[in-house]
Symmetry: C2
Subunit: 197 residues, 2 copies
Amino acid sequence: MSKTIITISREFGSGGRYIGEQVAKRLGFSYYDKDIIARVAEETGFAPEFIEERGEYASRAGIFAYAFESRDRTGASMADYLYSVQSRIILDITDKGPCVIVGRGSDYILRERPEAMHVFICGDEKAKLERIVRLYNKSESEAAKLMKDTDKKRSINHRYYTDLEWGKAQNYTMSLNSSAVGIERCVDIISELAKKL
Amino acid sequence: MSKTIITISREFGSGGRYIGEQVAKRLGFSYYDKDIIARVAEETGFAPEFIEERGEYASRAGIFAYAFESRDRTGASMADYLYSVQSRIILDITDKGPCVIVGRGSDYILRERPEAMHVFICGDEKAKLERIVRLYNKSESEAAKLMKDTDKKRSINHRYYTDLEWGKAQNYTMSLNSSAVGIERCVDIISELAKKL
């Protein structure tokens, strides 16, 4: 037995996306991340940037934004519609063979699948900041704001759609602090575990 | 380099204590758990059962219990006193050589130690219940209540003394779901990681 679906949820700046790519390469799995956004865009006609914000991040930052969001006659908002298209695309992807999926709520959408393993990657503030400054070419204060805002949106969105707490160990098969464990060693551990489970 | 201190925090019924014992055996480290309670009892004169409740669990279940707790003239409650003795004993232990410490707030007390690695063990409700029923000879409903109460107390106590959320991936080097990963494989992963870090 081995796991053929690996979902990776991650804090911004933790290197989770890179880890996901490397795990996919190591195991010979397909890798999905931004591709999902492109497919949702194609299917719905919305701009990828808009979907990127809406699909993974909070559709409503709070109850007031929620109240004023436009809704169709069934009561479903546009964000719900995007989320449902994205969910279907993620389910389709898993029919195509072994894969690693980073973000996009894949941990929750695939939570009942016995062949799936769910990983959360976090990191120390300092290490994440350094990574964001380096990779996104930001000042330290810009990086700090971007990190805080992105994780806050991910957390709110996760809670809204799943009613589960983002980053809580109980919701994942394994969680790793990439600053303490090391990025390459995270790749090793996840790849090995996927083969053994 | 390798880690010479491993702290294990765990949900009740997750097998975290057993995992800690096995990791210690595997690595040839000392193992501490109930021993700490005995040492606090010896030093303070309080009964071990009392310390077990007070040291790891909530000193005050809520603000009302807190308000009525007896305090000395410095404002420190007895629970704070027990916690401080326990903290000192845990620090003493780590001077004696490589060790695995399960619970007792050791993750927080040793959080700044570069030679320490912090692990959280959680599990699925069903598997934890089965384990509690089997090991503690309880009915399923008794086990469910015991599990809920114990984890709630651990969570409240952790938040009270550390201001950090118990079971949040960010607060540990690694978190493992023992039901998904398997108890023996948790032992393997933790032991291997401790040697490599």
